[in-house]
Symmetry: C2
Subunit: 504 residues, 2 copies
């Protein structure tokens, strides 16, 4: 009965929208946590986040919700009942059912406990990082890992408990698959990095200096506007760890670190977070509350941020547009640098400790390192106390350097404190997806270099909007990439890109 | 059965705490609305606020909640059943029952509609004020007044629909009572104002100038610390309309306007909002979720802000402490001004358009004006379209001046856009309470002038903490004032204070 399907669909949509609204509020609380919250408010914030997580979970596992969903799709088998609905709605149902099955596997009390613990842990981690004191963070991390392992058991998995965790961020991805994918690119990366280190040292000293932070922000905001970031529906603030946070396509916020002595860092961060934000702003607002207005996966999300940060923001066309402005604004040594030397400098490769500051060639090593440690922690082959040593030895092995403190080692990232195990791999997947999307973009827009210089950057958003953003979760990562690029996903585009750029 | 009472009490407490946590989140959303929210996010913010309001209302009227409450107190008659509980808990029950009866009178759909409309209206008002376009705001205001009148009917009242509205902000207060109280003080105020206007003009030109905003904020924050505002649990931001917003004693935030050319304005605002915040920070944290950790009324709240703003912040001891610092920091003409002339200048009386900038003697007129208009709107004897004219004629009558624009007339305040009809009278009640509290404070602390100069301001917070803050809603306004001051409430202290200061 078509009419009845639509009615049930509307009921499901409105229940889901209610939950999504609460999730959006929770995003805002997390944004506040990282930007403006007083330091002493961590306990009540944990309580607030826990309360919302509990309500969302209750709503998305409630009898009424299950009833509406179950009338449209067989919850056990996934077989669609409402075949009279238009295709996108059918796809939404498949996603709704997927989320329901996972949510139903977790008791509300577990979800609340997880939310409260991780909200508190973020504050503990921040203080521990400040003091470079891993032992202050360790007891919390132990609890988080225990809960993550429990979560994996509750959700279930075929081969590896880590599979259940990564599935939350990159549906369908597995530990084995990632190990193979990352294992395949690792040797090429190692040899490319080695090659760059034997060449003549690139002078990038002119990128360091005492650059007016306000002017840095002005230029950054100008660039954000240029890529199509709409300040009516978003804003930029400062936080220790830059992030993008969206509670709705009409309220999408990003952060950057306080501008530093590194002239390019702020622009890179803003391009990166701006890329995330454009994805969120580009989701179909009318579908807010349904999977049709949600991002596919964190890998696809990261493909958007890396696309802007690296493929656009470290490319020649972009800097042909912005280098004269940069030199004009900050003057000094910059005025005497040739475009070619500038371009070489911003693409300089050098092993370093901090992932978010890493160049694009050593960056994947940071991700692979975390992936290996996470996997070991979750399967129980490594313990929390071993992390600092493990970190140092893997850094030595992969990048040939060893951090002196945990602050620039295993305490640098916020993710574990948020309970986000299985998240890091999406950073590398994102780059791989981005490379393939960029090839397709280039093929469709052979004049893109010229357009960037003549008309600006907003046409890129239009392209990504059509090929990626507007589809929501209609297709999974791999299918979306195939539809957007005309090819099955493979790391080839990524390796070719790096080979061409750094192999010569 | 004592044990059972305690059990039921705990259940009620935990349900109430859940609702309170959601209300706290809503406060944070309102804070964000006024401080950082992108302008285009008003619709989704309205949806978020509506969702939370609905959840809070559902929770506080749910069967389970009613069951727990009803087992401890007779909901119909208010007769206590759980007489074995300690007295403060019995008092909490009386308040819980009071809130329940009022909440139950409103359908959840009404609460949601009200929350969504007013959240949206705040944005409309802000834009209308900017353009001084009353007609843009009028349709929203009409809807708000309709809903307020409907609310009054739903809640019920004895004499005047306005009684039902003011009861939300000042429990037990009525339109008749206020009309009498305000009517009694009005003639004295009018004659005092007239007196000040015939005297020699006070020169306060040295208070205007180009004062470094950063230094203004530095000094303001120093003063906030001095009164005992704890920046670990609070913060200060900018907004068009200064306010204080608390989601928990450990997360209490205030705002001020961007420092202007008026040297005293920022300090006044921070003392005022700081006074509000100290009340919230001083509520017993362990009771969070119960009426024992809630403010008594907005009148009592305002007594705390006015106490700091006026009775401390415009007094001689305070400025003996801070005037030298002020003169040192901002130099210029200030260096040549005597303390006596400075003191006269900051207490200068002159009718003006903007309530929040008004001196303490003309201020009550602004409140009485709004009270009269509100009452007329709610009883239907005046319509929304008449407001601008009504405003002008009442300003003429009470203060002898007429605003040229609605921006500095009937559009100046945020309250109506928030649906807060019945709120304004508490501003004057607060001053009256503050005067009486100050007399008692002075009697208990005969050396307070000396202490302020020698040891700073934090002992005042200790005094107010003991007499006002820590009691939560154990006593109603009048009883609290009686306990705190040893006298029944009357406007005598207020009138005496003004007479002494301005009548000479």
């Amino acid at each position: 009965m078509p009419k009845n399907s639509q009615k049930q669909y509307n009921l499901l949509f409105s229940l889901s929208k209610h939950a999504k609204t609460l999730q959006g509020i929770s995003s805002l609380l997390e944004w506040d946590h990282e930007t403006y919250m007083p330091e002493g408010s961590a306990s009540i914030r944990a309580e607030q986040v826990k309360t919302l997580a509990g309500l969302v979970h209750q709503c998305k596992t409630a009898k009424e919700y299950e009833g509406a969903l179950g009338s449209l799709i067989n919850i056990k088998t996934g077989a669609l009942k409402a075949k009279d609905l238009p295709l996108p709605k059918q796809r939404a149902l498949i996603m709704w059912r997927r989320d329901f099955v996972k949510a139903k596997a977790l008791p509300t009390s577990f979800v609340e406990e997880f939310a409260a613990l991780t909200s508190k842990s973020v504050s503990v981690w921040r203080a521990a990082k400040e003091k470079s004191s891993f032992k202050e963070f360790a007891p919390y991390l132990k609890k988080i890992i225990d809960l993550c392992r429990k979560k994996a058991e509750l959700i279930g998995y075929e081969k590896h408990p880590y599979d259940a965790l990564i599935d939350e961020f990159e549906p369908g991805e597995t530990a084995d698959n990632l190990a193979e994918l990352f294992g395949n690119v690792k040797p090429s990366l190692v040899s490319l990095i080695a090659k760059t280190q034997t060449k003549k040292k690139i002078d990038d000293s002119f990128l360091r200096g005492n650059f007016d932070p306000e002017k840095q922000m002005e230029l950054g905001n100008e660039i954000l506007k240029d890529i199509g970031f709409d300040f009516r529906y978003g804003r930029v603030d400062f936080s220790t760890h830059p992030f993008s946070s969206s509670s709705h396509p009409q309220d999408s916020r990003i952060t950057t670190r306080k501008p530093s002595d590194n002239l390019i860092a702020n622009i890179s961060i803003l391009m990166h977070e701006g890329g995330h934000s454009l994805y969120e702003m580009g989701l179909p607002e009318k579908e807010y509350g349904s999977p049709l207005a949600e991002a596919v996966s964190l890998g696809i999300h990261e493909s958007q941020s890396r696309f802007y940060e690296i493929w656009i923001g470290q490319g020649k066309p972009f800097w042909k547009r912005y280098f004269p402005k940069l030199a004009d604004t900050f003057g000094g040594k910059l005025k005497k640098v040739s475009f070619d030397n500038f371009y070489k400098a911003i693409n300089k490769v050098a092993p370093s400790f901090i992932r978010v500051d890493a160049d694009e060639l050593t960056y994947p090593m940071h991700v692979i390192l975390r992936f290996e440690i996470e996997k070991a922690l979750i399967e129980g082959s490594a313990s929390v106390n071993e992390i600092p040593d493990l970190w140092r030895s893997k850094m030595k092995e992969m990048l040939g350097i060893v951090p002196k403190t945990d602050q620039e080692g295993c305490l640098q990232d916020i993710h574990w404190s948020m309970g986000a195990f299985g998240y890091f791999p999406t950073y590398l997947l994102g780059s791989m997806y981005a490379a393939q999307i960029f090839d397709a973009f280039q093929a469709k827009n052979p004049d893109f270099e010229e357009r960037i210089q003549k008309e600006g950057l907003s046409f890129i958003k239009d392209y990504l909007g059509k090929t990626i953003h507007r589809h929501g979760r209609q297709y999974d990562s791999r299918e979306l990439i195939k539809r957007a690029t005309g090819k099955a996903f493979s790391p080839a585009a990524y390796l070719n890109y790096l080979q061409k750029k750094y192999g010569a």
